[in-house]
């Protein structure tokens, strides 16, 4: 890679980072006015902005580098499974959760568990949120390091630290306001950038089918199913549930103006997310055609090689910014979830219930820097395959949270004891299965999630039903009354 490409791309990334931090500073005063402003942007986000931001939060480094890398190394059906599952996230979440949970008027996922079940369930949930979101930052930071090392010529460690601190700065300053508006820009940059590279590939190869033919000539097994079906099913399950169980995604619903806006946002996000995989498919086929996968230390890097091969330096720089967008827009939302988990759901609920709003918000700000510090340390010690790491975190969250969230909305009889049993049982089963390596890659939730479901139903039925006022509120989530059911 020529030096001028590094300079161009480094400049674009630097300008981009400064612009994002500028947005954080712009929103800092408004965001730090109250807890509501900081965690949910005053519940004032409209459909389009919310939709693009939701898409940007969901479309992580895994969606881009991981899916393309997996598509080239494990066959195009692997990438197609990602597309299938990722696009289905949105209808799945909108049918089951978006509008209904928005009506509860809560600010965080553990707060939902508190009003639906009890404080103990909320406490356990907050701890799981903090741990899972911290680990989920690791693949995002890994991607930062890979990009920085390869394209900008930075050391892996330097790139991880600089980019990690970059997104923490604007997220910490501007809370959900800054995160939503930076995600709006990042989402649009991401889709535009990928559309450009896919179009260039399409034109150069005279269409997708010619490209596939050329790629198959290089790798005849590219179109095959290369893994056990459980691997594909595990990915599908983990992704499908991600919009429901990921605190970073669920919090977007709380920021929407209303249940109606939350639903419309999901529709916008579905269109954008599907487009990413269509463009990614072109990139994976182009990457396979290059025949370099065997020479790469990390299959995810093929994404960068495709950009370099097909685009002139300036456009490549924009696309690099798009990729960094994907990382930042997911990681910032995770940071906010961690921050809310520690300061709002643990500190204010269990340690200092009398804490002033400003104190809680400032604590949240500090927590973000601590969390990114922990994430950086883990990343530097254990960089791994991005898609696998994402699959593990998604699987863990599904195993612990999936049924306590959904049954809490749809089954009045679900009670606190059942939710606790489901959460702990599913989470522990997942950890045991991962530790023992009993199953195909990323397939653990196939067992752990049903364990959670069975435990939750059984324990709920064996113990007393929830109080009548809770059951009435479950009904209220489904009626057409204006939302804003307040805790």
């Amino acid at each position: 890679m020529a030096e001028n490409i590094r300079l161009t791309e480094s400049l674009i990334v630097a300008v981009y980072l400064l612009a994002m931090i500028g947005i954080g500073i712009y929103f800092s005063k408004r965001a730090q006015r109250s807890e509501d402003q900081y965690w949910t942007a005053g519940r004032n986000i409209n459909s389009f902005v919310g939709g693009v931001a939701l898409f940007a939060a969901l479309a992580s480094a895994s969606s881009l580098m991981g899916a393309v890398g997996g598509g080239v190394s494990l066959g195009l059906p692997f990438l197609m499974t990602y597309g299938f599952a990722a696009t289905a996230i949105l209808p799945f979440v909108v049918f089951l959760v978006s509008g209904q949970i928005r009506r509860t008027g809560v600010r965080t996922l553990p707060e939902y568990f508190k009003i639906r079940y009890n404080k103990a369930v909320a406490g356990v949930a907050a701890v799981i949120v903090v741990i899972a979101m911290t680990f989920y930052m690791v693949p995002q930071l890994t991607a930062s390091g890979l990009i920085g090392g390869y394209v900008l010529g930075w050391e892996f460690n330097t790139a991880v630290i600089v980019l990690g601190i970059g997104f923490t700065l604007y997220a910490a300053l501007g809370g959900m306001w800054a995160i939503t508006y930076t995600d709006l820009i990042q989402g649009l940059v991401m889709v535009t950038g990928l559309a450009i590279v896919a179009t260039v590939i399409w034109v150069q190869h005279d269409g997708a089918f010619n490209l596939i033919e050329e790629a198959l000539a290089v790798d005849p097994e590219l179109g095959d199913i290369s893994q056990h079906w459980m691997t594909y099913f595990g990915i599908f399950l983990a992704f499908l549930w991600f919009g429901v169980i990921s605190p970073s995604a669920v919090m977007r619903n709380f920021a929407s103006k209303s249940a109606k806006v939350a639903r419309r946002s999901a529709f916008v996000a579905a269109i954008l997310y599907a487009s990413v995989f269509v463009f990614g498919f072109m990139m994976a086929a182009a990457g396979a055609r290059m025949g370099i996968i065997g020479d790469l230390d990390n299959a995810d890097m093929v994404f960068l090689h495709v950009i370099e091969a097909y685009l002139p330096p300036l456009v490549a720089g924009i696309l690099l910014a798009a990729l960094i967008s994907a990382i930042m827009s997911s990681a910032d939302a995770m940071l906010l979830a961690i921050s809310a988990g520690v300061s709002q759901d643990i500190y204010k609920e269990f340690i200092n219930p009398e804490a002033r709003e400003k104190t809680v918000v400032r604590l949240g700000l500090v927590v973000m820097f601590v969390a990114v510090g922990v994430g950086i340390v883990i990343t530097l010690a254990e960089p791994g395959l991005i898609a696998v790491m994402v699959g593990w975190v998604g699987g863990a969250l599904l195993s612990a949270f999936g049924f306590p969230i959904v049954l809490g909305i749809w089954w009045k009889r679900a009670n606190a004891a059942g939710a606790m049993a489901g959460m702990l049982g599913g989470g522990i089963t997942f950890v045991i299965l991962v530790s023992g390596e009993y199953f195909a890659l990323v397939a653990e939730p196939i067992i752990a999630a049903p364990v959670s479901l069975v435990l939750m139903i059984t324990v709920s039925l064996l113990t007393a039903p929830p109080p009548q006022h809770i059951q009435d509120q479950v009904d209220l989530m489904h009626t057409d009354v204006p939302d804003r059911v307040e805790a």
């Binding site: 197609m80 499974t81 696009t87 033919e213 590219l222 749809w410 804003r484």
Partner: protein, 82 residues
């Protein structure tokens, strides 16, 4: 947990679960997914890619359409109730 909504609307009865648009459309989504994973056609390879791959890709516009149908359906129901 208390509500700030109009008291009269609070008494609105919940619809039977099987008539909920979300549950009806969720069933469509799950049936579509179940067909793919139970059938799992690794062969043939139209266009050089396993048929199951193409099937999975073809679900993407279906997912978008289901989301759009749900959004419109719910808004019509809410409007009708208002």
């Amino acid at each position: 947990m208390s509500s700030t909504a109009e008291p009269a609307e609070h008494t609105a009865r919940r619809r039977p679960i099987w008539t909920e648009p979300g549950i009806i459309l969720l069933t469509v989504l799950l049936v579509m997914s179940a067909v793919i994973f139970t059938w799992w056609p690794k062969e043939p390879h139209p266009g050089g890619i396993a048929l199951v791959g193409w099937l999975m890709f073809a679900t993407m516009p279906v997912s978008i359409a289901l989301t759009g149908i749900y959004v419109i359906w719910m808004e019509r129901r809410e409007k009708a109730r208002a």
